[in-house]
Every structure is written in C-alpha cells, then in structure tokens.
Subunit: 131 residues, 2 copies
C-alpha cells in the first residue's frame, strides 16, 4: 500500500510547475498502478491550451470556477466543483480558470514525471521519453 | 469530450449504494478511458473491509476524517483531506470513517458498474462478469 499526503508532496519536487499551474504527482508510472494521479492547481485568471494526443485524461473539479472549450466542436462547458471532463477523444481544448481551480486528474497511460508540454500542448508518448 | 456533474449523477442510478457508502460512477469501463473514476461517500461511524483482488485502486480524500488499516502489515494510517492511498498490492484493508469521508477513486481495470462486493470484500474480475 502506498500512502501519500498532498500537503507534504506539494512542497517537494513531485510538484511540477509551469506557466500558471502546479501539478502535484500523487502517483506516477513507476508506482505500477497503470494510471497516474495528480492534483493540479491552475491560477485564477489563467488560460491553457492542451491536447494530450497520446494520453486519456479525466479531470474532476474539487474547487474553483472556470470553463473548458472543446476546440473540436467549439462547445464551452462551465466548470464548478463536482464537474468532471474526460478527454476520451484526446480532445484539444482551452481550460480557463476564473477563480483558482483545484483538479483531481487521472492519466492513462500513466505520466512518468519527466514529460513537458510541447508546443502543441501535448505530452510526448512514453516511447519517445525513453529515447 | 465527456462532461458530467457529480451533483446531477448522484441523483441517478449511477450512484450505487451499499451498507453505509454511496459510490457515484463518473466514468465506467464503457467510457473507454482504460480506468474508472468514482466519487465515494462513506457514512460517519462506518467501517468497511475491502480487498480488490482483481483491481488496482487509488483513493484520494477530499473531505472527512478516518483511517485505513493494512491487514497485511497491521499498519494504520490516518486519513484527512489530501491523503491518498493506493492499493498497489491489492492490499486487503479496513477503511474507517470517523467523520463522513468523500473520496475520489480510480480503478484499473475500470469497473463496469455491474460488480457487487463479494463476501471476501472483492469485486469479481471482468471476465467473470461477462459470463
């Protein structure tokens, strides 16, 4: 059994920050669960374009307020606590935080922890990271 | 993109209850994400023995207070908001809610939604459910 506390990990190098967001990696690929699990905080007023071409991701809103625009369909959905979106089609999207968002995120395949967002908003597939 | 709201789903048959817990299935196997994602609420004062012999599960505490005892090692860990446990060894365990617990749970392989807890605290593997 693995037991970890977000309140501890967010002060360590398991908390990865980029422009206006911080993702605390509670579970990564090497934990052997077959998925990774992150708590991601997005700064109030920030806007992010992501497209996980090589991953499925689900994102559950625990706190905050914002919206997501599906760039495939043009549809925008409000995000408030209790709303989950799942990128089952690797959907390219814009995520906006009106208030600071705190999200519980699952990735399949699991993130290894060494990925960086590329220009196109994606993470590289695992095989490229291994190179 | 799938968008669902816990506050709506918990009033539907996607909210499954058993003795002193309710699990609202935000994502199930047929969503094709490769994992399932549930919001599980455990009643204050309740105690549960589970052993997911055929699944990996991670559980993140969003609210409440309780503890988990690993029946393999005898160790007990406190559960408060921000604590996650991951059953990477299919660990048989007792989960206790001192206060009502609200947990974000990921299962791999994904739960289909038709499982029931068996006498031994497990869910059947997917192949048995298909019979």
């Amino acid at each position: 059994m693995i037991v970890r506390d977000f309140n501890d990990l967010r002060k360590t190098d398991r908390a990865v920050s980029d422009a206006q967001w911080t993702s605390t990696r509670m579970l990564l690929a090497d934990d052997g669960m077959g998925f990774s699990f992150h708590i991601t905080e997005l700064d109030a007023g920030s806007e992010h374009t992501f497209e996980y071409k090589h991953h499925f991701e689900s994102v559950y809103c625990m706190a905050g307020k914002g919206s997501i625009t599906d760039l495939g369909t043009g549809e925008t959905h409000q995000i408030t606590p209790g709303v989950m979106y799942a990128l089952n089609l690797h959907d390219r999207h814009i995520l906006r935080a009106e208030e600071k968002l705190v999200m519980a995120c699952c990735f399949n395949p699991p993130v290894t922890g060494t990925e960086v967002h590329r220009e196109d908003g994606s993470y590289a597939p695992a095989e490229e990271l291994a190179d």
